[in-house]
Symmetry: C2
Subunit: 325 residues, 2 copies
């Protein structure tokens, strides 16, 4: 409960800082959509992880606050552009930027968010600012690479588990490891501590994405906020589909192959595919993968000097990966 | 001739550095279009200005080379995204990225170019790296604001000269002043020198854009590389149209107002509009504006200690603003 309260406090701090950050209102076709996406809520996982990572190496959360705001803005930039590419009409229960305005405005709003992300980051006062900016920048590039692979995989039939893991490391893992690594650096981490935090972030990010794949199949529909089985209908090459494809035989294999070949299936097939995920052990495999990643992530935390802040990260890890939504 | 040779040498250096910069080839849907736009030629004005600005304060061109490559990549990022928003099908005689591939690929290729621009910039080895990165970042934000105004003006009837100048300062001026200011900082400029170079860049950038408006009406069609009168047909609120609208009377004013209201006109009207630009003195006014800006820009160069490199900048200014294409 103590930790939950702290998470909520840090989240509220990020929320306030974000709201204060963009002072300008014109040109309004630029700043209205930019403010709209930033005000859309979200769990603020990355910035809170960054604040905690600074504290976990003996720094203050204030030392990482500007960068945390920058990372959350960066994350929102990816959402605006990804939503265009994915043709997504709603996010967090509201119309996406390109739906509420138009594609051109969404492209430009995303672009300015990227600029604003760097503006926030570069307010940081740290002897490591160049290193921190480089990590942030490599994060931008990796996220683009991850998204490019994700789009390429939509039309590729032979996506292996290795391909998939590379893609999610880039698309999801990077933003989490940027949070923990940059937080560490701004908090004054030693080289060992920085690497431990980076690796911790990569593992948590990976587990988080596999969890996301799993939730598409086993989540509580109301809490999850989207319809169950969406990935199956879209024929998305998730951890589950790739594993099940490797393991299934006979009619089951034929069905899964058909989904990949046709690039999706009807909603009626969701239940049968779900049963195949179960019977082939794909769901168990995903759960094992998550549990292994969490264990390894916590080992990285074990390399840091035990403190309340390190325990907070441990709690945060469990909280993230035990979510039912 | 000496200076022309130097410009060509510096341009070739930028060209080589750009070609070497992106090593990666996968994901190919990301790096093929990114390399395609970077290999598309262009005058490399901004990076060459940056190299010269470093030298103009006693620095080396090598000190500014990484940042110069970064700025040219940044400029290309704006081209890729602007071409989507402007529905442009060709650039420099080749299909635009979203035409050759598709819009999603162009969005993502633009995004990664922005990341790559920072990667190049952050290779710079300078005690001023944070300041330099901030200038670069404010440039990104200003360019987005300029583009947003430009698009807003397309559907606004009451665009004043003040609005127009604000827009071109942001959209065109900023990238030029980033070149000269960052070049100066990396070359070790004093505060006075930095501000002189920044102001020089702003003035050159502004003159360059007014020149562009003028060329649409008076250029040699073949050298200009695009059809004359395009801005008139599109009803673009250029320096010329805004000035002529203020000054015209009777039937002429009615014609110009009609163009603004209908958001363009037919190609048949181009000659008549051109004569109105002439008779109202709008063309003279544009030429005066350019000439005043150049004079003021050169005054800024007068604040620097005279050297071969400063003379080179003077030559470069004349060369840019005497272009017929």
């Amino acid at each position: 409960m103590e930790f939950l309260k702290r998470y909520q406090q840090y989240g509220a701090l990020v929320e306030r800082s974000l709201a204060e950050f963009i002072g300008k209102t014109v040109p309004r076709t630029l700043y209205e959509p930019a403010k709209y996406i930033l005000a859309g809520g979200g769990k603020r996982i990355r910035p809170v992880l960054m604040l905690c990572s600074s504290e976990a190496v003996g720094g203050t959360k204030d030392a990482a606050l500007d960068a945390a705001v920058g990372l959350e803005i960066l994350h929102n930039f990816t959402l605006v552009h990804d939503d265009i590419m994915d043709n997504a009409s709603s996010r967090r229960g509201r119309p996406t930027v390109h739906t509420k305005w138009d594609e051109n405005i969404a492209i430009l709003a995303g672009d300015v968010l990227l600029g604003l992300a760097y503006r926030a980051l570069l307010r940081s006062n740290s002897p490591h600012i160049q290193h921190v900016s480089k990590i942030f920048t490599e994060g931008v590039i990796e996220v683009c690479e991850g998204q490019a692979y994700d789009k390429e995989f939509e039309t590729r039939r032979n996506v292996t588990m290795e391909d998939y893991l590379l893609m999610i490391r880039k698309k999801t893992g990077t933003m989490v490891s940027v949070a923990t690594e940059v937080g560490g650096l701004l908090g004054g981490a030693s080289e060992e501590e920085r690497l431990a935090l980076k690796s911790y972030g990569e593992l948590v990010g990976q587990a988080f994405q596999v969890q996301d794949d799993l939730l598409d199949v086993i989540a509580d529909e109301e809490k999850f906020g989207k319809t169950i089985g969406g990935d199956i209908v879209e024929g998305k090459k998730t951890f589950l589909l790739i594993t099940a494809l490797e393991r299934a035989t006979g009619e089951d294999k034929k069905l899964l192959k058909g989904i990949v070949e046709r690039g999706g299936t009807s909603r009626r097939s969701v239940d049968r595919v779900r049963r195949i995920f179960q019977s082939t052990g794909a769901i168990d495999a995903a759960q094992e993968q998550i549990s292994t990643d969490i264990t390894r992530a916590k080992e990285r935390l074990g390399l840091l000097r035990r403190s309340d802040a390190v325990d907070m990260l441990g709690w945060f890890t469990d909280m993230l990966l035990n979510r039912k939504s």
